[in-house]
C-alpha cells in the first residue's frame, strides 16, 4: 500500500478495496518499524489517527468523500493541533499542548485527511539540515549519514521513506523546496498569503508560507487545494479565490517560455548537480518549451538580505516566549529578569539564540537604518529582478540546492556556510513568489531537485509544468534502498 500515491489511495478507499482504518494502521506499522533510525516523527498520534480514520470511513460510506478523505498525512510540528503537543522542534515548547487548531490543520481535518503524527524540524524552523531540532537530527532516507535538509526535514524524510503519501511543511527561505530536493520528492511553496499562517508558529512573518510535500505534482495539487484559502484570522492572508489546481494538469507545454537565471548556474553550483539539471531542461525542450537565459542581477544580495530581515522578525516574534504564560520556565528564578533570561537561555538552542541576537542587534538604536532599512530596500531590488524576468518568461527554472544532501555535522558549526545552502531558494521568499522543487535525477546516487519559480498566484502553472515532466520521467518514483 505504501507504494501508492494519494490519488491511487483515494480511489482504493472510495472503491472499498481497503478502509482508511486499514490504510492508517499500515502507515503506523511502517512508522513503528522504520522511523526509529530516521527520527522523522516527534509525536505519533496513533489513537487519534485511528479514530479520524474510522470517521473518514463513515464519510466514504455515506458518499461524501473528497480526494483527501481517509488519506494519512504527517504534519510539521509547527502547526498547532488542538490537544496534541506542538513543540516547533524546541525545548521551549516541549510541554506545550496546543489549545486550538491552526487553520491549515482545521482545513485538512475538514477534508477528512488523517494526521498520523507531528514531524521533526529545525528548532522554530531555523535551519537547513534539521540538525537544530531539540529532538535530534533526522536521517536522509537515501543515505543515513546525510541530512534530509531543513527546516521541514522530518516531513520530507517521512514522504521519501514512504511512511506517508503526503505531509505538510513551511518555507521561510527554502524549508520546503530544499528538503524536497535533498530527499527526492515534490514540494511546493505557494505565493505569500495563499495559505493561512494562523496557528502556524511564527518565525519571520513577512516570509513564512505553508505548503505540501508529496511524491507527485498531482498529489501536491490536491493537498494545496485543501490547504489554500483566505482566512480573516491571518492579517496577511490574501482575499482571492483558490484556483483549480488539478483542472489544467496535462495541458501542453508547447511554447512555454522558461527562463534560466545565469546567476543560478555559476560558481558554487556542484558540477554533478548542474549535469542533472541540464538533462531535466532537455526534457522540457522535448515537451515543446522554449528556454532562454535571463538575469536576476541582484541574486547575490538575497542571502545577506534574508539574514537581516528574517532574524529581525524572529527576534520580535520570539519575544513572546518569556517563561510566564506558556512554554519552558527555568527553576527557582531569583527575580523576574532572571526568570526571563534563564527560561529563554535554557529553552532555546544555539541557532535560535544566534538569530535572536542578530535581529536584536539589527533593530537596535543606531543600527536600524544600516541593517533593517537597507535590507528592505535590497528586498525591493530582488523583487524587481523577478518582475522584469516575468515580462519575458512564464516560468523560471534552475537547481533547488547547490549540492546534493551533505553529511550530518558537515556544516553545523559554520552558520554562514549553512546559510548558503539556500542560495537559490531564498530570493523567492523575499519576493513572495510561488516555487516548487521536483525530483530531477541523481548525482552520486543522491537526489537532485529542479526548482520551478512562477509569477504571483501561478501555482497551477507550476504544478502543470511539474506534472508534464513527471509524465515523461520516473525520478519521482524512485524509492530509497531499504524502504521498498
Amino acid at each position: 500500500m505504501h507504494h501508492k500515491s494519494l490519488v491511487e489511495l483515494g480511489a482504493g478507499l472510495r472503491q472499498g478495496e481497503y478502509s482508511s482504518e486499514e490504510l492508517t494502521r499500515s502507515c503506523l506499522d511502517r512508522v513503528a518499524v522504520l522511523d526509529p533510525p530516521l527520527n522523522s516523527i516527534i509525536t505519533l498520534t496513533g489513537e487519534q489517527a485511528l479514530q479520524a480514520a474510522r470517521d473518514a470511513d463513515a464519510r466514504i460510506r455515506s458518499g461524501n468523500a473528497g480526494p483527501l478523505t481517509g488519506i494519512p498525512y504527517a504534519h510539521k510540528d509547527i502547526f498547532c493541533t488542538k490537544g496534541v503537543r506542538t513543540s516547533c522542534g524546541s525545548r521551549m515548547l516541549d510541554n506545550f499542548i496546543a489549545p486550538y487548531d491552526a487553520t491549515v490543520t482545521r482545513q485538512l481535518n475538514a477534508a477528512g485527511a488523517v494526521m498520523i503524527g507531528k514531524t521533526n524540524m529545525d528548532e522554530f524552523a531555523m535551519g537547513s539540515s534539521n540538525e537544530t531540532s531539540f529532538y535530534g537530527p533526522v536521517s536522509n532516507p537515501w543515505d543515513s549519514e546525510t541530512v534530509p535538509g531543513g527546516s521541514s526535514g522530518g516531513s520530507a524524510a517521512a514522504v521519501a521513506a514512504r511512511l506517508v503519501p503526503v505531509s505538510t511543511g513551511t518555507d521561510t527561505g527554502g524549508s520546503i523546496r530544499q528538503p524536497a530536493a535533498l530527499c527526492g520528492i515534490t514540494g511546493l511553496k505557494p505565493t505569500y498569503g495563499r495559505v493561512s499562517r494562523y496557528g502556524m508558529i511564527a518565525f519571520a512573518s513577512s516570509l513564512d508560507q505553508a505548503g505540501p510535500f508529496a511524491r507527485t505534482a498531482v498529489d501536491a495539487a490536491l493537498m494545496l487545494g485543501a490547504m489554500a484559502g483566505f482566512d480573516p484570522r491571518d492579517s496577511t492572508s490574501v482575499e482571492r479565490a483558490v484556483d483549480d489546481y488539478t483542472g489544467g494538469l496535462g495541458d501542453s507545454l508547447e511554447g512555454l517560455k522558461i527562463g534560466l537565471p545565469k546567476e543560478f548556474f555559476g560558481e558554487g553550483l556542484d558540477g554533478t548537480v548542474a549535469v542533472a539539471v541540464e538533462a531535466a531542461l532537455g526534457e522540457y525542450r522535448k515537451l515543446g518549451a522554449v528556454i532562454t537565459e535571463i538575469s536576476l542581477p541582484n541574486s547575490q544580495l538575497a542571502v545577506p538580505t534574508y539574514y537581516v530581515v528574517a532574524p529581525a522578525e524572529c527576534s520580535s516574534n520570539l519575544s513572546r516566549f518569556d517563561g510566564v504564560r506558556f512554554g519552558y520556565r527555568a527553576t527557582d528564578p531569583a527575580d523576574l529578569e532572571d526568570l526571563y533570561k534563564r527560561s529563554r537561555g535554557e529553552g532555546f538552542g544555539a541557532e535560535v539564540k544566534r538569530r535572536i541576537m542578530i535581529g536584536t542587534y539589527a533593530l537596535s538604536a543606531g543600527y536600524y537604518d544600516a541593517y533593517y532599512l537597507k535590507a528592505q530596500q535590497a528586498r525591493r531590488l530582488i523583487r524587481e529582478d523577478f518582475m522584469r524576468a516575468f515580462e519575458q518568461v512564464d516560468v523560471i527554472m534552475g537547481p533547488t540546492s547547490p549540492s546534493v544532501a551533505f553529511r550530518l555535522g558537515e556544516k553545523s558549526n559554520d552558520p554562514v556556510t549553512m546559510y548558503l545552502s539556500d542560495i537559490y531558494t531564498i530570493a523567492v521568499n523575499l519576493a513572495g513568489l510561488p516555487g516548487m522543487s521536483i525530483p530531477a535525477g541523481f548525482a552520486a546516487d543522491m537526489p537532485v531537485g529542479l526548482q520551478l519559480i512562477g509569477n504571483y498566484f501561478e501555482e497551477a502553472r507550476l504544478l502543470n509544468a511539474a506534472h508534464r515532466y513527471q509524465q515523461v520521467t520516473d525520478w519521482h518514483e524512485r524509492i530509497p534502498p531499504g524502504y521498498e
Binding site: 542571502v303 504564560r325 520556565r329 531569583a334 529563554r344 535572536i356 541576537m357 537597507k374 525591493r380
Partner: protein, 95 residues
C-alpha cells in the same frame, strides 16, 4: 564588523537571553561572521529605493471592533508554568 565579548553580552541582555559565560567567545565569532556576511549589502546603491515590508505591498486589513473571541482562560492557563486563582505567577517585582 567584529563584535567584542561585551557587545555580545549587551545584545543578549537586550534580548533577555541567558548565555553561558564560556559560550560568549563562540557567539562573538559566529555573530561577527554573520554580520560580516550581511555587510555585503553596504556596497549596494539603494538611494531612492522604497523599502519593501510586504511582498505584495498589501496594507493592513481592518475589521469592525467587535468581540469575536470567547473566554478560554482556563484552557489557555493549562499551558502556564504557574498560576493561582486565574492569575499568572512570577517572582515578586515590587518589594
Amino acid at each position: 564588523m567584529a563584535l567584542e565579548a561585551e557587545e555580545v553580552e549587551k545584545i543578549a541582555h537586550l534580548a533577555r537571553l541567558g548565555i553561558d559565560h564560556d559560550d560568549i567567545p563562540e557567539y562573538a565569532r559566529n555573530l561577527s561572521d554573520i554580520l560580516a556576511f550581511v555587510e555585503h549589502l553596504n556596497g549596494v546603491d539603494t538611494r531612492g529605493v522604497e523599502p519593501l515590508a510586504h511582498p505584495l505591498d498589501a496594507v493592513q486589513r481592518l475589521r469592525p471592533d467587535e468581540v469575536t473571541e470567547t473566554d478560554e482562560r482556563e484552557l489557555f492557563q493549562q499551558n502556564a508554568p504557574l498560576t493561582e486563582a486565574g492569575l499568572y505567577l512570577v517572582p515578586k517585582v515590587i518589594e
